[in-house]
Symmetry: C2
Subunit: 416 residues, 2 copies
């Protein structure tokens, strides 16, 4: 009953930690990494309802070709594709993909906003619903009068022509976003249908939900227009003590260095420059210290070293960790959902082919008994299952304003 | 026993004919068109030997991300991916993908040549064969000393970092090329392992084979380093008269306008400007007249009009057409192969789900009886089946000179 499989992506190599890619290569921290979109067609052919959310960067893609790739996948999956919109912070990606240097953070969001305008024009605005007629008798596939040019000429992109694809089931893929910065949150409030949250406490999650919801309201959207989904690390076994023992068995897999290498790249700050065995207060880089402090909430009065924080982070992949029997886990997830106002969880696949099967076998039935997880899919598109609504973008969504009918309507209004 | 399914691609819309995209949209001339690479993983999961050759443009892609997509597919197919290298001539693609205008023809080949250098560095040079150690005991996935930066800084591309992917079965996908211009032929002579030819006469095919082979020899390659594959249109039925009747039945599907729209975009010359019912000699645009004259060889003494030539072209998709019983077709294909010096054919799928099954049921068994088509696959990679050699690029191929071992060897030589 998972709505979606989420596939992360990092189009560059993590090489900020100690100014080198050595730690990333040695411990396989997001390298090697294949293109996540390529496997979706194969997975779609052996599944019926599962959606696939793929990370795609608005900083390194051309909207014209990116939109075609997503539409192709939406056709191949019958409407089960989602897009995790990222603006990417990896300097390595920038320098290998034709950019002289990494684009500044806030400009990345300006580019992202224009990128969205282009893809909405392609996905929603270009081909009318009845453009494709498939009239073999007359030899007509498409009615050209119902296919409109994107006619986009902006600051960052120029896309004059119509979209290359016939519209797919969802047209615009289900839109996911995870930005936690101020600009990221504004972007999510405007564009996202589902927001990924990663944090260490229920209070922080609640604050994120409230802040993004409030921003969305100022843009005319309501709480029910967004789904909030929090990352969670789950270790489950038939009993609490067995679950704790299982968690202990997983600890040797934790790598402090790997965690620091990964975090260095995500934040583009070198965690290799700090003394990881001195108390946290001695960390001089503000961004690093304040980040590490977030993970001390389990015991804020104790003196932590960066190494101890990193161990804590590694255990949870930076998110809330729940360890226990099916009822313990279900209790905690219900509590988290209710207290933070969440719509769902992104369950981390800590041990591939072990963590998720455990969750499916033990936790899902318990949540179904409690009426928290449905026993049948509500819809056969990803958007339908995530939003509980139709296959297409809601009429109030910013992307819907680019629909051909609406644009033509506006033109007629302007004429009259 | 097909080696490969060839998937063409046109990343822009055909809008040269009559200065409009109307004819292309109406008759579905390469629009709508989905991204061909996305379906390969799904097809790979239900096939064991069939290869997949995908068109990819060196003008509109970034080599760093393109190389990753191809390697991902080579992993997912177990070494059955080929790349039809094109430089693309579509103005529409250029203007929608961030280029101010279409890049001039010969500069496109200069870009293509540097693009190849970059992807060879990534595919062949970056990860040594024993870089990945997967040592769970020591927590080491990759030995970082065996992963080398591409360190490419050229005129068109800058790719300083190592490749993001672990090497796949073939490393470099099997390399196909179809350029017929002088620059295209030079490019093929240097890089291609298989050359697609499209022409209307055995003599023209022979001249292309000879010219490219001769060019390849000047670069130190031999005839056996290249496979020549000609496009062919086949209509087959149990008897010659049934095949001719079948061909006649297909003629109503022919569209003169669609053919002219397609050819206008391929050549970036507007065939809509000529009078298609006046004799060919009145066509003023040299490029268009000389192109059309190639299709009059069936009856060069007759007076042809552009419309009649277009009908001729549409019947054959611009290639040699063979109509007849299995023995007639096999005779003609053997004759073509021997007289033009071909290694294989690219059989056009004129009527999807009908043309190829006919060919498989009727022609393949006849060619197998004659020992012209094998009865079992020689290899389980595309390169193995196309070249009759190993899964990896041959040592004499230009791409092999970028291998880490060879580059390190050269460095040691330089030092000594």
């Amino acid at each position: 009953m998972f709505d979606s499989l989420f596939l992360a992506d990092f189009p560059g190599i993590n090489d900020v930690y100690q100014g080198s890619n050595e730690a990333s290569l040695r411990e396989a921290i997001a390298v090697p990494i294949n293109d996540p979109s390529m496997a979706v067609a194969a997975m779609a052919s052996v599944t019926r309802h599962l959606g696939f959310a793929i990370t795609g960067s608005t900083t390194y893609e051309q909207p014209y070709s990116f939109a075609r790739r997503m539409t192709t996948l939406d056709h191949l999956t019958g409407g089960r594709v989602g897009w995790n919109i990222v603006t990417s912070a990896t300097a390595s990606a920038a320098r290998n993909l034709g950019l002289e240097q990494q684009v500044a953070h806030d400009e990345r969001y300006a580019i992202a906003d224009e990128f969205m305008e282009v893809v909405y024009k392609l996905w929603e605005g270009s081909w009318e619903d009845d453009a494709v007629v498939r009239d073999a008798e007359r030899g007509v596939y498409t009615d050209p009068t119902k296919v409109h040019p994107a006619a986009h000429k902006g600051t960052y992109f120029s896309v004059p022509d119509p979209f290359l694809c016939e519209p797919s089931r969802q047209r615009t893929p289900a839109l996911f976003q995870a930005g936690a910065s101020s600009a990221g949150r504004e972007f999510a409030a405007k564009h996202a249908e589902a927001v990924f949250l990663v944090d260490t406490s229920v209070n922080s999650l609640r604050r994120s939900v409230d802040a993004t919801t409030e921003l969305a309201r100022t843009l005319g959207r309501s709480r029910s227009d967004l789904s909030f989904i929090a990352g969670v690390s789950v270790v489950v076994a038939p009993t609490d003590s067995e679950a704790r023992a299982k968690f202990e068995q997983q600890l040797p897999f934790i790598s402090v260095e790997g965690t620091l290498a990964r975090q260095s790249s995500l934040m583009q700050l070198d965690f290799g420059e700090i003394d990881i065995d001195a108390p946290l207060e001695y960390v001089e880089t503000d961004g690093i210290r304040s980040f590490l402090e977030r993970f001390t909430i389990a015991d804020p009065d104790r003196t932590w070293t960066p190494r101890q924080v990193a161990e804590q982070m590694a255990r949870s992949l930076g998110a809330i960790t729940v360890v226990g029997s099916p009822t313990t886990v279900a209790d905690r997830l219900e509590e988290l959902a209710d207290e933070a106002g969440l719509d769902g969880f992104n369950v981390y696949d800590n041990l591939p082919l072990r963590t998720l099967p455990d969750f499916v076998d033990l936790v899902v039935p318990e949540l179904q008994r409690r009426g928290r997880v449905p026993t049948a899919y509500e819809a056969d598109t990803l958007r339908g299952n995530v939003t509980g609504r139709g296959a297409r973008l809601g009429d109030g969504h910013v992307g819907a304003s680019f629909r051909a009918t609406q644009r033509l309507g506006l033109e007629e209004n302007a004429r009259s």
